[in-house]
């Protein structure tokens, strides 16, 4: 085992230990368990955006659509179809992911700025639908009337609704599964071709990589991860509202990824932690939180475009 690998393992162990013991150390810093669950879910969202942005080099600025679609599908499943948390998650992931995959097929030939614009505009379609379709979604008031259900293992049940700590560990388990899968894909030959496309699309094409197909698959995978995060978010809040589909949330996800370091695997999670905690704090002390968030975004773009982790690892790509 080389020194590099040892360091890598140590960092990984530290990250997972920090996440595992979060309910016990967070209160010392003014955090609370529900905030921890929220950070994890939004962090997963940012990592899903980054799966596409940082590792394939494709900027989607409409990913909140898949997040919100997952949230609504999960909520509606729990409300109308089955009182089962895993089923809600599955439905949310499938609905959001499939919708994203279908739309991705339409967009995959577009590049760069144009791709960003089209994803913003199409993302808003779902915002309008959620906003207008009162009878199904509750419109502007959001979707209420569902709650996460206990996990039933036959012999015993785990109460997720009333015990924040159990729920945190449930979210952490889901997070770990999704992130593990993400790391596995990125480490696979397919993941290496994603990076090849990011680095030099033309050369990748010359090497015989079907670039469009690979971008589409990466886009679709990222949508599935996103929808999974959205479904979890519906469980975190026992609520879904149209703002979960709005492009400003897409922008938040992109900012989290950039702030943490979009060429790194764990950067977006760090970005999400900083962003969510900061937003939580600023909006509790001032009504002008929008200006502060806006200023934060401007400063990051101008002075820290490579993000926190990007600065730690000068000139080495992931």
């Amino acid at each position: 085992m080389t020194a590099d690998q040892r360091k890598h393992l140590a960092v990984l162990a530290a990250i997972w230990a920090a996440l595992l013991f979060a309910p016990y150390w967070m209160p010392f810093f003014g955090g609370y368990t529900a905030l921890g669950s929220r950070v994890l879910v939004l962090g997963l969202g940012a990592m899903s955006v980054n799966f596409l942005l940082g590792f394939t080099g494709v900027l989607s600025f409409g990913h909140a659509a898949w997040f919100g679609l997952g949230a609504y599908a999960c909520g509606l499943t729990l409300k109308h179809i089955a009182l089962s948390t895993p089923l809600g998650l599955l439905a949310g992931t499938l609905v959001g992911g499939v919708a994203g995959a279908l739309l991705g097929a339409l967009l995959v030939r577009r590049r760069g700025i144009y791709f960003a614009m089209v994803t913003i505009a199409f993302g808003q379609v779902f915002y309008y639908i959620a906003f207008q379709w009162l009878s199904l979604t509750g419109g502007d008031d959001g979707l209420r009337g569902f709650a996460r259900q206990p996990l039933d293992f036959g012999l015993f049940q785990i109460d997720l609704l009333h015990n924040d700590i159990y729920f945190y560990y449930f979210v952490l388990f889901c997070f770990a599964v999704a992130v593990g899968l993400m790391a596995f894909i990125l480490g696979s030959p397919f993941g290496r071709t994603m990076i090849a496309i990011r680095e030099n699309e033309r050369r990748a094409r010359f090497l015989g990589i079907p670039v469009e197909l690979h971008i589409w698959i990466a886009f679709a995978l990222s949508c599935f991860f996103m929808a999974f995060a959205g479904s979890l978010y519906a469980l975190v809040n026992n609520f879904a509202d149209p703002r979960m589909l709005h492009y400003s949330l897409s922008g938040d996800f992109v900012i989290m990824a950039v702030m943490g370091g979009m060429r790194t695997f764990w950067g977006p999670l760090l970005g999400a932690i900083v962003f969510v905690v900061l937003q939580d704090y600023i909006s509790s002390v001032t009504v002008n939180w929008m200006s502060f968030i806006g200023l934060l975004i401007v400063l990051i773009v101008l002075f820290f475009p490579r993000g926190f982790l990007g600065m730690l690892r000068p000139r080495r790509t992931a």
Partner: protein, 289 residues
Amino acid sequence: MLELIFFNITNGLIVGAFYALMAIGLSLILNLSGVINFAHGGFLVIGGYLAYVLTPYIGFWGALIVSPFLTAIIGVAVEWLLIRRLYGRDPLYSLLLTFGLAFIIEDGTRQIWGANGLPVSVPPALMSALSSRFFFITGYRMFMVATVAIVVVLLFVLLRHTRVGVRIRAGTLDLETVAALGINVRALRSFNFAVGIFLAGLAGVLAGGQLGLEPTMGDGLLMPSFIAIIVGGVGSLTGTLVGGLLIGVAAGLTAVVFPSASDAVMYVIMAIVLLVRPRGLFGEEGMLT
């Protein structure tokens, strides 16, 4: 029934003219500088509120002319201080920067002028209906459409027949060559940015006269402008103009049959265009795709 259809088409044209005015400004900046200006709606708001401040002193007509210029000056200052640094970098960064700017502008206007709506007082001569049968065609609406038409024509003349306009169009196609010919590309981009923001400011004044002012009024116009650009074809200003009018009229006509879908119809048009003709109605293959 006929009158209802006529009413909605007129409405659609007016709305479409607005979308086009916004979208052409966005499109100018996008084509030459490769920046998706998320703060465009914010500049529209600034233009509107400046008119509100100026009207008591110089009247509506004065504000209509001065306010867009002031907005353009603010726009150029922003371009100098912030956006200029990001040219040549991944478009992601300018997109995010203007995204943050939009937050700051919205919050700033709310801080200064409050969250409640404010009116821009329009001369009474413009407010009367032109005929009793077509009561909905007020003088102001005609005036808005006429102003947009004049400005758009002037812009096209500027782009086609003046030296700076030709340079802007050349820069849209190949900025490197334009720079190699000894033209100051930085100044060209600043001027072009100013023109785009001028149009946003003008749209703000006009919208303020019709609907009143609110800190969030730019939001509702931003998305249709994006769609106008996509439908018309990135890179083509004519396309953007047609795209704006098209989605405006389509939304108006849909309102006759199925009012709650009138917002959705532009997305349907966009989807159809992307399926059938991905480069957009007037777009050329290879432009910015």
